[in-house]
């Protein structure tokens, strides 16, 4: 187990290193930020002075090493758009809003998808199964940004039950969280259903039935406990796509999180903030995947010896 964990950790570090190179390279291919920072009639001396100040006159590999060293300490420099704030500070300011929204979306996904997937598998072929599969199909086909707009149209404008956009209490989070969760619910439901179908067909579940275990015990204790490993492995992807979903949905709802920040930063060519956001998202995603892999290996010994 330790060997597997170490191997997985080293692999992630290699990925992380490559991501820092990509992030650094992309931001530097975008053209100089100086154009947006100085007025059009700036003199050559002014431009040179600012270049020196920002370290943009150094060779590229030196700039990368400096970037890497600072990045390891969470220092991505000062934001160009939000003057006087560090890039990391700007991201950390917005992160709680994204985590709250993403957390709620994740919670909704699991709370809806697991029971729906289990029921759909246990009652295979009944109207409940068809209903669940129909909904899952819709969830996978609907564009999140459009779902958000339609939800605003129905529940905020039409019925007036919930606010249209902005930041506030739980009421402000419900519509955006549902918009993010729709796709995840669909994916997780389908996974849970197919995993359950497979397990329900095994000998040990049949044996449990023959022994006279109650239906609830058979479904949840014997079948689901073993089927749960499949949705579990999907959890890393799930956490990542919730983050990605938040970029789009935060923009629709004007939710002041890190996703919306990313779009604002890119429009303003705010390199340091772009770097900080991308690194943060990539790191979160990698971490989620490593944790899932370790958990998976711990639960299922075949993985770590395979």
């Amino acid at each position: 187990m330790t060997r597997f964990a170490l191997l997985r950790l080293v692999q992630s570090l290699v990925s992380l290193f490559a991501i820092t190179v990509i992030v650094f390279g992309l931001s530097h291919a975008t053209g100089s930020p100086i154009d947006t920072m100085l007025p059009d009639d700036a003199t050559t001396e002014q431009i040179a002075a600012l270049s020196r100040n920002l370290g943009l006159d150094e060779p590229l590999w030196r700039q990368y090493l400096v970037f890497l060293g600072n990045a390891l300490q969470g220092d991505f420099g000062m934001s160009l758009k939000w003057r006087g704030q560090s890039a990391m500070g700007v991201v950390l300011d917005r992160l709680p809003a994204t985590l709250r929204l993403g957390g709620l979306a994740l919670l909704i996904s699991i709370a809806v998808a697991i029971p729906a997937g289990v029921v759909s598998a246990v009652r295979r072929g009944t109207w409940a199964d068809h209903l669940v599969r129909g909904f899952a199909l819709f969830g996978q086909s609907i564009p999140a940004f459009w779902l958000g707009i339609v939800l605003i149209w129905i529940f905020a404008v039409g019925l007036g039950w919930l606010p249209t956009s902005g930041h506030g209490g739980l009421a402000h989070m419900i519509l955006p969280a549902i918009s993010i969760a729709a796709f995840q619910i669909a994916a997780l439901t389908r996974l849970t259903r197919s995993a359950m179908l497979e397990v329900l067909d095994t000998e040990y579940v049949k044996l449990a039935r023959i022994k006279g275990a109650s239906e609830t015990a058979v479904v949840w204790r014997h079948a689901f406990a073993n089927a749960a490993i499949v949705p579990l492995t999907y959890f890393g992807v799930l956490a990542g796509s919730v983050l990605t979903g938040s970029i789009v949905v935060e923009t629709v709802f004007g939710w002041p999180g890190a996703g919306w920040l990313a779009i604002e930063a890119i429009r303003a060519r705010d390199f340091p903030v772009i770097q900080a956001v991308v690194m943060f998202f990539a790191l979160a995603f990698l971490l989620a995947n490593v944790l899932v892999d370790l958990l998976y290996a711990w639960v299922d010994p075949r993985v770590r010896h395979g």
């Binding site: 692999q11 992630s12 290699v14 990925s15 992380l16 490559a18 991501i19 990509i22 992309l26 931001s27 291919a29 975008t30 072929g125 199909l137 819709f138 996978q140 086909s141 609907i142 564009p143 999140a144 940004f145 459009w146 707009i149 339609v150 605003i152 149209w153 404008v157 249209t164 994916a187 389908r190 996974l191 197919s194 999907y234 992807v237 990542g240 983050l243 990605t244 970029i247 789009v248 923009t251 629709v252 990313a262 779009i263 890119i266 060519r269 772009i274 956001v277 991308v278 998202f281 990539a282 995603f285 990698l286 995947n289």
Partner: protein, 276 residues
């Protein structure tokens, strides 16, 4: 549960919403999609009090929504088709190579797969849009980047077990070159998987393309892509809901029919393929 009958309704839907308009937009669109009719701004659709001239209503410049949706189908089809072909080809080739060669090649390809999976696609698209400006090729690059890794991983996994099978060993004993073994003996055995994955991913790609143009980082204005059409109506949720509603519905129906076809194809060709 696999039904062998051709899924008629999804096919009809696909032709009606996506393929038909993409091929025939010039012939069937009632208006020029770029033409403003300033006297007919924000006309509601015909069943909500509007006239027959603009069946699905008009936007804030008086452009015909129906015509714009019909023309938008073109871009949806063109971008996703080219993207899928490129992404599937690149991913499958690398997957074949990694699974067949194993060792270092495999390790490098799989690390690249990990890296691809770790970079959120929308963020990458944002970065690319800033680098190259919003463009057709930047969108294609993002699509290929998103696709190749899942194809590579799936194909590699299957090749790893295929290469140990007897028919591969026999081909080798018979003196077949590596290239021949790969192309004549292994590739045909993963072709079904690649086809099914491509169909299942088509819906994902149409959604991604729409998302990018919605955010203003896809194919640039004034091209009437479906995502852009939805974005155009965002400020009019209260006064003119139809501007956003119908283009979004077109996306939903297209992706829905593609996903139904994909599921059917999987049941037919590759029932063991686990896909989300």
């Amino acid at each position: 549960m696999a039904s062998s009958r051709l899924p008629v309704i999804p096919l009809a839907l696909l032709v009606l919403v996506l393929l038909g308009p993409a091929l025939l937009a010039d012939l069937i669109a009632p208006h020029d999609p770029y033409q403003s009719h300033l006297r007919n701004r924000l006309q509601p659709p015909v069943f909500a009090g509007g006239g027959w001239e603009f069946i699905l209503g008009t936007d804030r410049l008086g452009r015909c929504i129906l015509s714009r949706i019909l023309h938008g189908a073109r871009y949806a089809v063109a971008i996703s088709a080219v993207g899928i072909v490129l992404g599937a080809a690149l991913g499958s080739a690398l997957g074949l190579l990694a699974g067949y060669a194993r060792g270092w090649t495999d390790a490098v390809v799989m690390r690249l797969v990990d890296i691809s999976f770790a970079l959120p696609s929308v963020l990458l698209a944002l970065a690319l849009a800033v680098v190259f400006g919003p463009s057709f090729s930047a969108v294609l690059a993002v699509i290929v980047f998103v696709l190749w890794a899942s194809f590579a991983r799936q194909v590699r996994g299957e090749v790893l077990s295929l290469r140990e099978r007897d028919f591969v060993a026999r081909a080798r004993v018979a003196g077949a070159s590596h290239l021949r073994i790969l192309s004549r003996h292994i590739l045909p055995n993963v072709a079904n998987t690649i086809t099914v994955m491509a169909t299942l991913q088509l819906g994902v790609i149409i959604l991604l393309e729409a998302t990018l143009s919605f955010l203003g980082i896809g194919v640039p204005r004034p091209t009437p892509t479906w995502g852009l059409l939805v974005a155009d109506g965002r400020q009019f949720v209260v006064s003119a809901w139809w501007i956003s509603f119908f283009p979004g519905l077109a996306i939903l129906l297209s992706v829905l029919s593609i996903n139904l076809l994909g599921d059917w194809l999987r049941d037919r060709l590759d029932p063991r393929l686990q896909q989300v």
